[in-house]
């Protein structure tokens, strides 16, 4: 039987470890040739090592798959160019881009340093733009492409992560802004909310835990069934990269833990209308008495319902 990604070529940024590593391996298992890109930095973006990318590549080759390592930084336009060139020179085409590279530099907004802001925005947001801009012309010429940006529930707000929230929100903006434009060329672009017990979540805040627990994935209890393992994300991402997922684009998909979920667009909760000019007193009355009345706090993002 033909594998679902037979003949496809994929790039996975941050593909040398954690969730990115599992995604690299799963794409290879489904038949794709994979460029495993990883600068091998520490969690805050410092240092360099070829070990993570090389390790995943050997695992893939050891199981009969096809992969090549690349160590360039997607945060730099030139780096993104070299990553894409690696796919083209080694495998001759490019069908799939998964942008999973990421660092965290958490701090409360009032104490955050400029470099902490810049570094996180550069890798997550500019990294996404860099790799998408390099990949899309090739995908257009092939009339085929699958792009997955690894956003985060932190895009909805997460204590101590104003840089990360902005960058991850921006990734959703890229997905929603480009989906229509890319559709005509049979290119899909989606954001995923991944999750796992990785080095990145060791300091996970209560807000992120609350989101995750909405779907019965306790972040506190032991993980004997492996429900919080990185590998849970991988087949869902791999599915979104298949030809069969052609109709899924511009979406935000939760891939963490046992479930696979789809997020709503921003939903209009309630609307007030006035045919002549609004005045202050109108708002006092109308907003106070009806605009946000009886809307559960969970829908406004304050507290979270158990579902």
């Amino acid at each position: 039987m033909k594998k679902s990604l037979e003949g496809r070529v994929a790039i996975v940024t941050g593909g040398g470890g954690g969730i990115g590593g599992e995604v690299s391996k799963w794409l290879a298992k489904e038949g794709a040739a994979v460029v495993v890109n990883d600068v091998g930095s520490d969690l805050s973006g410092g240092g360099f090592s070829s070990t993570p990318a090389d390790g995943i590549v050997s695992e893939i080759i050891g199981s009969g798959g096809d992969a090549v390592a690349n160590y360039d930084s997607v945060a730099q336009p030139d780096g993104a160019k070299r990553i894409v060139n690696a796919a083209m020179s080694m495998f001759g085409r490019l069908d799939i881009v998964c942008h999973a590279a990421g660092i965290v530099r958490d701090r409360m907004v009032f104490n955050m340093l400029e470099e902490e802001w810049d570094d996180v925005i550069n890798v997550h947001l500019y990294g996404a733009l860099n790799i998408v801009a390099e990949a899309v012309p090739i995908m257009k010429s092939q009339s085929y492409g699958r792009i997955i940006l690894f956003s985060s529930v932190s895009a909805l707000g997460n204590l101590g992560q104003c840089n990360y929230s902005a960058a991850k929100g921006g990734q959703i903006g890229i997905v929603q802004g480009l989906a229509d434009e890319l559709k005509v060329d049979n290119i899909t672009i989606n954001a995923v909310f991944p999750g796992a017990d990785t080095r990145m979540t060791e300091g996970m805040s209560s807000t992120a835990r609350a989101y995750i627990e909405q779907w019965g994935v306790s972040a506190e209890s032991s993980d004997a069934q492996g429900i919080r393992s990185s590998v849970r994300n991988a087949p869902k991402v791999a599915y979104l990269c298949t030809e069969a997922a052609a109709n899924i684009t511009g979406q935000v998909i939760g891939v963490f833990g046992p479930p696979m979920t789809v997020y709503s667009q921003r939903v209009l909760m309630r609307k007030l209308y006035k045919s002549n000019a609004w005045q202050f007193d109108d708002l006092d009355f109308a907003i106070g008495s009806s605009l946000n009345r009886n809307i559960p706090e969970s829908r406004l993002g304050g507290k979270y319902e158990q579902r």
Binding site: F110, L129, K168, G177, N247, V262, W278, G302
Partner: protein
């Protein structure tokens, strides 16, 4: 004229003249002392003297808010002038950069990076100050995004990034009694009005609401929420998903 902001100090920043003027004039007319920061110095000087001519109290800031040092200087200038900052309204104007795919990284740097840096830099110093006074309201007004469709990609990126930033700032500032909300609007006057309403009433620290304001409509939007899910205690296979996702996750509907 009213008294809603009597004794309060409002800092207003941005490059959109209509918006800055509507906000400054409205807050001043309700009694607030104003510092308005805009890079177009001649224009902002004139606006401020108009406010001062009708019994308001306003000063001009001329700081480049893409610089951390300047953002800190603006905060210091405001506190030196009026003793505190109760309200910070940031008018975020997004230039249409077309599709990011048609442009080059230098162009994104020109359009996206300054807006993001400006919002971070000013919010950082303002929130540090509001933290010491245990009160304050921050409103990020994003000009002119149609909330679902027909938007440029740069606009979409900046809007979603600022909303993420707004929501986290609200969480970071919750225990200091400081609120942070976002208003998306293509109507300057009503954007100013709703911002003023938020600053005078809607003190719900930790919850940031997303308002959409037009000429005749004031709307409230939810955060994206999980709509539907499929679940397996085993690890899914791609074949299973191939069957389950179209049938259950998307309910058989063709997605647009």
């Amino acid at each position: 004229m009213g008294d809603r902001f009597r004794g309060k100090v409002a800092l207003v920043t941005g490059e959109d003249h209509d918006l800055i003027k509507e906000i400054s004039t409205l807050f001043a007319s309700e009694g607030a002392a104003i510092v308005a920061n805009c890079s177009h110095s001649e224009w902002v000087e004139r606006m401020v003297s108009e406010i001062n001519a009708v019994d308001g109290v306003a000063k001009v800031g001329h700081f480049d808010l893409t610089s951390m040092a300047d953002a800190e200087s603006l905060l210091n200038f405001t506190v030196d002038s009026f003793g505190k900052v109760d309200v910070f309204v940031s008018g975020i104007e997004i230039r249409d950069g077309g599709s990011v795919l048609d442009s080059v990284p230098e162009k994104w740097d020109e359009i996206i990076r300054p807006v993001m840096k400006n919002v971070f830099a000013t919010t950082k110093y303002v929130s540090a100050h509001m933290r010491t006074q245990n009160s304050g309201q921050i409103v990020n007004i994003i000009r002119d995004k149609k909330i679902h469709h027909d938007i440029s990609v740069t606009n979409s990126i900046i809007t979603e990034a600022i909303i993420g930033f707004t929501r986290t700032t609200a969480l970071d500032m919750e225990k200091y009694g400081v609120g942070c909300n976002a208003v998306i609007s293509d109507h300057a006057r009503n954007a100013a009005l709703v911002s003023a309403y938020i600053c005078s009433n809607l003190v719900t620290p930790g919850i940031s609401s997303i308002f959409r304001v037009d000429e005749q409509e004031v709307s409230l939007y939810s955060v994206p929420a999980i709509e539907r899910g499929i679940y397996s205690s085993d690890i899914f296979s791609v074949d299973e998903l191939n069957y389950l996702v179209p049938k259950y996750l998307f309910d058989g509907e063709e997605l647009s």
